[in-house]
C-alpha cells in the first residue's frame, strides 16, 4: 500500500514542517500550510477510496457506495477547498501544503527504484530527512561564513563576467571574503548586475546550498536508478560498476558494524555516497559543493545524531540507554563514578555532531578555497596579456581534492558507523557466539 504509507508520511512531514514554520516564520503561514496539506491529504484519500471501490480486483468494490461518496463528499471537499482559497490565508504556503503530498508520493516512487530492497528504506529515510532538515537548518539563518563569502565573491565577480571560467576572486580590495569559484547562481546574479534582481533569483541565492544538495540527491537517484533498471544476469558496464561499488561499500561497513549491525548498513552507505557526491560537485564547473556550508553538514550531523540515539534507545531499551551513558557500572565504585561520568558522556554525545559537521565543512571549504586561489593565480599570471583564460594551475589540486572529497565522505560515514557500534549492546558478540555454536552443531 504505497498510497497509505505516503499519506501517513505526509501527515508526519506536515506536522513537523508546520511546527517549524510556526516557530520560525509565523503562525498564520503555518496554518495555511497545514490547512493546504490537510485538504490535499483528504483529496488523495477520497480519490484513493473511489478508485478502490470501483476497482476490478476487489470483491469489496461497491459502485453504489462510490457514487454516494463522489456525490456527497466530493462537493463538500471542493467547497472546503474554495473556502480555503477565499479565506485569505497566505497563498504561497497554501500551495506548498497542496504540493506536499505529491512531493512525498514522488519521492517514494523514486525510492522504489533503488537497487536493493535493503537499500530502499535507508535511502528513503536519508532523502526525506535531507529534504526536511536541510531547509530547516537554512531557515535558522545563522551568520555562517559561506553565505557572506558567496555574497562577496558575487560582488567581486560582477566586474569580469565575460572572461572564461577562471575568474579572479577576492582581490585585496575586498573585505576579508575567501575566494570562491563562481557557480551557476553567481553567473545568473552577475547577469543582473546593476539592475534590480528578480524575486526568484533572490530565492535561488538564499537557498543555493539546498538546491545544490537536492541536485546531488537527484544525481544519485538517477544514476543508481538507471543502473538498477537493467537487472541482467550478465551485467553491463554500468550495472557492473554500480554493483561493485555497492558491494564494496556494503562489505566495508558490514565489517566495521559486525553482523548485528546489518540493518544500519544502508543508512551509512547512502550517507557516504551522498556526501562524496556533494564534495565532488565543487570540482565541476558551474556547480558548488553544498558541503561548503555549515548548514548542510550540520543538518547531516543532526540526522546522524538523532538516528544514533534512536538506535541506542531501541536496541538497549531506555534503561539500558541511560545505563550505557553512566559507563555501565557494576559495583559501588562504578556507581560512584557514574555520577561524574554521566554528564561527561552526555556532553560528549552532543559534541559529536559538532565535530562531525565542522570537520566536513572545514575540509571541503578549505579544499574549494585552495582551488579558487590557484585559479585566481592562474588568471593573474596571464592577465598582463589580457588573455581571456588563465593558466590551469589548479589541475594538480583537482586530483588532490578528488581524493579529499572521497576520504572526507568515508570518514563521515565511518565515524557514524563507529557511533552506531558504540550504541549497540556490548555483549552481543558473546550471545551470538553462544547461540551460534549449538546452532551450528545441530546443523552438522
Amino acid at each position: 500500500m504505497v498510497l497509505v504509507g505516503s499519506l501517513r508520511a505526509t501527515l508526519v512531514v506536515t506536522v513537523v514542517l508546520g511546527l517549524a514554520l510556526a516557530a520560525f516564520v509565523d503562525s498564520g503561514k503555518a496554518l495555511a500550510f497545514v490547512a493546504g496539506s490537510a485538504w490535499s491529504l483528504l483529496n488523495f484519500a477520497l480519490w484513493g477510496t473511489l478508485v478502490r471501490q470501483l476497482s476490478w480486483r476487489g470483491h469489496d468494490g461497491n459502485p453504489l457506495r462510490a457514487a454516494l461518496l463522489a456525490l456527497v463528499k466530493g462537493p463538500l471537499l471542493y467547497g472546503a477547498g474554495f473556502a480555503l482559497l477565499k479565506a485569505g490565508l497566505s497563498p504561497a504556503f497554501l500551495v506548498a501544503g497542496f504540493a506536499l503530498v505529491f512531493l512525498v508520493v514522488t519521492l517514494r516512487a523514486l525510492g522504489q527504484w533503488l537497487i536493493h530492497p535493503d537499500w530502499r528504506r535507508g535511502a528513503t529515510v536519508v532523502v526525506l530527512a535531507l529534504v526536511l532538515l536541510t531547509p530547516q537548518a537554512a531557515l535558522a539563518k545563522e551568520p555562517v561564513p559561506p553565505k557572506t563569502t558567496t555574497h562577496e565573491a558575487a560582488e567581486g565577480h560582477a566586474e569580469d563576467v565575460h572572461a572564461d571560467d577562471a575568474e579572479h576572486k577576492g582581490g585585496g580590495h575586498e573585505k576579508s571574503g575567501a575566494p570562491e569559484l563562481p557557480n551557476i547562481v553567481t553567473y545568473l546574479e552577475a547577469m543582473y548586475e546593476g539592475k534590480p534582481m528578480p524575486a526568484w533569483l533572490h530565492v535561488v541565492k538564499e537557498w543555493e546550498n539546498v538546491l545544490f544538495a537536492m541536485l546531488a540527491a537527484v544525481i544519485l537517484i538517477a544514476l543508481f536508478g538507471s543502473a538498477a533498471k537493467a537487472k541482467a544476469l550478465v551485467p553491463g558496464p554500468a550495472q557492473n560498476a554500480a554493483e561493485a561499488l555497492l558491494g564494496g561499500i556494503h562489505d566495508f561497513f558490514l565489517g566495521v558494524l559486525g553482523p548485528s549491525g546489518k540493518p544500519y548498513v544502508p543508512f551509512v552507505g547512502s550517507l557516504m555516497l551522498y556526501i562524496v557526491t556533494m564534495n565532488w560537485m565543487g570540482m565541476v564547473p558551474f556547480l558548488k559543493s553544498p558541503s561548503t556550508s555549515l548548514n548542510t553538514t550540520f543538518a547531516l550531523a543532526v540526522c546522524v545524531f538523532v538516528y544514533v540515539q534512536y538506535i541506542g534507545i531501541t536496541r538497549n531499551g531506555l534503561a539500558g540507554y541511560l545505563y550505557h551513558f553512566a559507563g555501565q557500572p557494576k559495583d559501588a565504585i562504578g556507581w560512584g563514578s557514574a555520577i561524574l561520568l554521566f554528564p561527561l558522556e552526555v556532553m560528549g554525545e552532543f559534541i559529536k555532531p559538532i565535530s562531525l559537521s565542522c570537520r566536513l565543512f572545514g575540509n571541503i571549504l578549505g579544499e574549494d578555497i585552495l582551488l579558487a586561489v590557484f585559479v585566481g593565480l592562474g588568471v593573474t599570471t596571464l592577465s598582463f596579456v589580457h588573455s581571456p583564460i588563465g593558466l590551469p594551475l589548479q589541475l594538480p589540486f583537482l586530483v588532490l581534492s578528488g581524493l579529499f572529497g572521497l576520504v572526507q565522505g568515508l570518514v563521515f560515514a565511518l565515524l557514524t558507523t563507529v557511533y552506531i557500534v558504540m550504541m549497540l549492546p556490548h555483549d552481543d558478540h558473546h550471545d551470538e557466539a553462544h547461540a551460534s555454536a549449538p546452532h551450528a552443531a545441530a546443523h552438522h
Binding site: P145, T148, K175, F252, G255, C358, R359, G362, L415
Partner: protein, 80 residues
C-alpha cells in the same frame, strides 16, 4: 585607529594559530600514518582493519587543524 589594536592583532595571530595547529596535527598525522604502515607491513593480512582504524585516527588528528581553520573563518570577518 592606533597601531596595537584588535584587528592588527588578529591579522597577525590568525595565520600563526593555523600554523601552530598544523604543526601539532601534522606530527599526529605522521605518527598515525607511521604506526599504521608499520603494522600493515608486519601483518599484511590485517591491512583492511588497520586501515580503517588508521583513517579514523587520521580524521581525529586532522580535525584539530580544521577547528583552527573554522575559528580563523569566524574571526577573519573582524579584520576590516
Amino acid at each position: 585607529m592606533g597601531f596595537p589594536n584588535f584587528a592588527t592583532a588578529l591579522a597577525y595571530s590568525l595565520p600563526l594559530g593555523i600554523g601552530l595547529a598544523a604543526i601539532g596535527s601534522g606530527i599526529g598525522l605522521g605518527l598515525t600514518g607511521k604506526g599504521g604502515l608499520e603494522a600493515m607491513g608486519r601483518q599484511p593480512e590485517a591491512a583492511a582493519k588497520i586501515q580503517t582504524a588508521m583513517i579514523l585516527g587520521l580524521a581525529f588528528s586532522e580535525a584539530l587543524t580544521i577547528y583552527a581553520f573554522v575559528t580563523m573563518f569566524i574571526l577573519s570577518g573582524k579584520i576590516s
